[in-house]
Symmetry: C2
Subunit: 462 residues, 2 copies
């Protein structure tokens, strides 16, 4: 086995895997580990250094992400040829050197991100089988550029699912597929050029809508039931972005009465629309299901949006929106020349996944898994945090909020968790001024990791 002999310091502030990562990176940059050298497997290196495999994995993953290592399935980890820029970044940079902006932060062992899924349950086998069926020369129609709104059969399969599971009532012809919800929202902005946009505050859309249309955005506060319709009315806005199934980030589920009020608001003014973002409606752990606003609407006032990225696979960029008649007409008359952004093979894969019942099976399976994870998270927090934590928005979705009454501010909570190798997320990013509450997503952590991570947080915060 290749000798990897870092000096690791158990007492250091720096976690062990960051030390290991630094060491290997330096060895590569100095040319001691040269291109195409094979590194020891995680298991062997863990044994050799008396570390956990998790530690080795965290270091390797980061080196892969930064282009120092390459992981070849069933073969192992190899040192990459450095491009000049990576090599240069060790000192003698050219004037025009462009630095890679890192996307993930390597410093954490437990990341409570709200963007992620349970990787162990992903149906790789089904995906493989379906893809093998699709990638055949009989399917050469899939090579041609398809319909701008997405393939009719795929839209039809989604419409059927939405009708059965969410009470959304639509024709496939009023649906548009797109590479992610952000993409579709930007298309919506083009359809609603003269709009004044109302967003939930705090809320997810607050960031995105405000960024692009800051001069035309009204922040609308929430009460226990969601967006306050009286404040919406006063604001003068005509387009309201809402997340009624599971308000992001606060987690309340909008009751039917508030839904009817919202629809009433929309019906009372010309050019008013509601954008219903149903981003994680699939996961609901208690209470009766409430039909989507779109299904309650009889006046072509609701745009319904949903996604496969949240519940199935964040890296699969497939979302959809259902437009009411006046908006689909603007789209078809003026924006039909935009090519579809989702590959046709991906569309066909998901169509079969829906039609053959895999999606429903997968969602049922994940609901059980996530329900259990949520229970563990909530129970552990209650057990570990002495009387001083409050859990918010746990009835559905893939994250909860935790208000920690230990005198720390949001930033202190985050920093202190970081010192214990755990990443929790600020609510202020979504406009909250609460300042003692953080966001914990739990989908991508294992049950054991949730246990350990909450212990870490208890040490960090109390």
């Amino acid at each position: 086995m290749l000798e990897i002999t870092p000096k690791l310091d158990n007492q250091s502030e720096k976690p062990l895997y960051v030390q290991l990562y630094d060491y290997i990176k330096q060895e590569i940059k100095m040319g001691n580990l040269t291109p195409d050298i094979k590194l020891p497997s995680k298991r062997r290196l863990a044994a050799h250094l008396s570390l956990s495999q998790n530690t080795i994995e965290a270091a390797y993953e980061q080196l892969i992400a930064e282009g120092y290592l390459l992981s070849i399935p069933r073969k192992g980890y190899y040192v990459c040829e450095l491009d000049q820029n990576l090599a240069d970044s060790n000192g003698q940079q050219s004037a025009n050197f462009i630095k890679e902006k890192p996307y993930q932060d390597p410093k954490f062992l437990y990341d409570f991100t709200q963007i992620g899924v349970d990787a162990r349950s992903f149906p790789f086998g089904v995906f493989r089988k379906l893809t093998n069926d699709i990638l055949r020369s009989e399917n050469d129609r899939l090579l041609k550029l398809g319909h701008p709104q997405g393939d009719y059969d795929f839209r039809k399969a989604i419409a059927k699912y939405l009708y059965e599971s969410r009470g959304v009532c639509c024709s496939p012809s009023q649906m548009i597929i797109g590479a992610g919800t952000q993409y579709l929202i930007r298309l919506l902005f083009q359809l609603l050029q003269e709009g004044i946009f109302a967003v939930e505050d705090p809320g997810y859309h607050r960031r995105h809508v405000a960024f692009e249309k800051w001069e035309r955005v009204k922040m609308i506060p929430l009460d226990q039931e969601g967006m306050m319709v009286s404040r919406l009315e006063e604001s003068g806005a005509n387009i309201a972005f809402v997340t009624p199934s599971h308000q992001f980030p606060c987690g309340m589920i909008m009751p039917i009465s508030r839904r009817m009020q919202l629809l009433h608001w929309a019906n009372m003014g010309e050019g008013r629309y509601i954008i219903e973002d149903d981003y994680d409606s699939e996961f609901r752990y208690s209470g009766k299901p409430i039909p989507a606003l779109q299904g309650l609407d009889t006046n072509e006032k609701v745009v319904y949006m949903g996604t496969f990225s949240k519940a199935l696979l964040p890296s699969l960029r497939v979302s959809y929106m259902v437009l009411p008649k006046p908006l689909i007409e603007i789209y078809q008359n003026e924006y039909f020349f935009y090519a579809q952004t989702v590959s046709r093979m991906d569309q066909d894969l998901l169509r079969r996944f829906l039609e053959e019942g895999h999606w429903e099976k997968q969602i049922s399976k994940m609901r059980v898994i996530y329900h259990k994870k949520r229970d563990i998270l909530v129970t552990e927090i209650m057990k570990q945090f002495p009387d001083s934590a409050e859990i918010i928005g746990q009835d559905s979705g893939l994250h909860v909020l935790v208000r920690v009454n230990n005198g720390m501010t949001e930033q202190e909570l985050i920093d202190q968790a970081g010192r214990f190798h755990s990443k929790v997320y600020p609510l202020s990013a979504y406009g909250s001024h609460d300042n003692k509450t953080v966001l914990l997503g739990y989908a991508s952590l294992s049950e054991a990791e949730i246990h350990d991570a909450v212990k870490m947080l208890a040490e960090a915060w109390f």
Copy 2:
């Protein structure tokens, strides 16, 4: 075998396959063909009706596209359950009925579209093998949301290819992957908010840029060498969109002297940029290769754009752009929160396709195939059209222009071709006022079809 007994009229203006399509559609709507009935295979129905398999295929394809039939690989063609809207469309429509806007026109046997590839040569086997390698639980990192610019390894593989084949010199860190060139151009508009845009006239970008930024667009005429720099200078624009490898649609290749003039123009003013769209640089049949403008630029003035959709697979929505330093900085500071629009599995598939040499092999193979198709097209036109056609822009790319000197206008040429079941495309759509020239793409027609189609055109036009 199920009885399909249409009355077909050989003398009708309506092509046979449209008659067949109409008949089957009517049978489904009237309930004579009910859901899940299996239709005869193309071969059997062709024998039964004494028609060519092509005719059956054209009818089936259109029925599939409209949701009446479903094609199940290795099983056959089935009647779909009609959704209410399709059924309703037979008369009793509800007030809010939303009609499917058709994307492809079923009326043509030979479609000279410029968007398409040779379906028979698509490497299904390689795609299947690579996908099987990727869809394994060891690759669970691919489930996580990836880097907003696209995966580093994928960008690195593209950068290497661009350097070797096009002389483009860039770091992976200045590249952004996106779901199609239109998507990336819209992102560029956000980076260049104060820009005044110059586009080639006639040209591809004329349509798209003008649509979104009509109040800030200058049309720049072309001479034999491409965009006229003197007119660009006079226009007051600061951002020039060009297609130097193969001007779209006119087909000229910009010589090195004009490239240097363009770069000089860019260097002479602050905030000036050139957008080099190298959409089909892979196919070049004569003359020496000329390096990309990006490779000649030493002052961070060129945005380079390319795509996998054109040469490999139109329905695979993957394009990329290389930004000069000032623009990548704006992007990284202000737009980094936009999630990547291409699925990570697709990125990984294409990365392996590049790294393992399949892309180069495929391009070499396609170059021979397309070269031959172009030769057949050009030879046939010369043979069939008596002294009165001129072929323009045949040195590269996947389409040519044909100027027909028979006294017909562009619209007459198109209409007359249509009567002979052939679709040719207007140059006026790209701003040309020539009015006797049409565009013929040849990538997706077979050699035999090109033969037959040109004969049809000769009958139609002379």
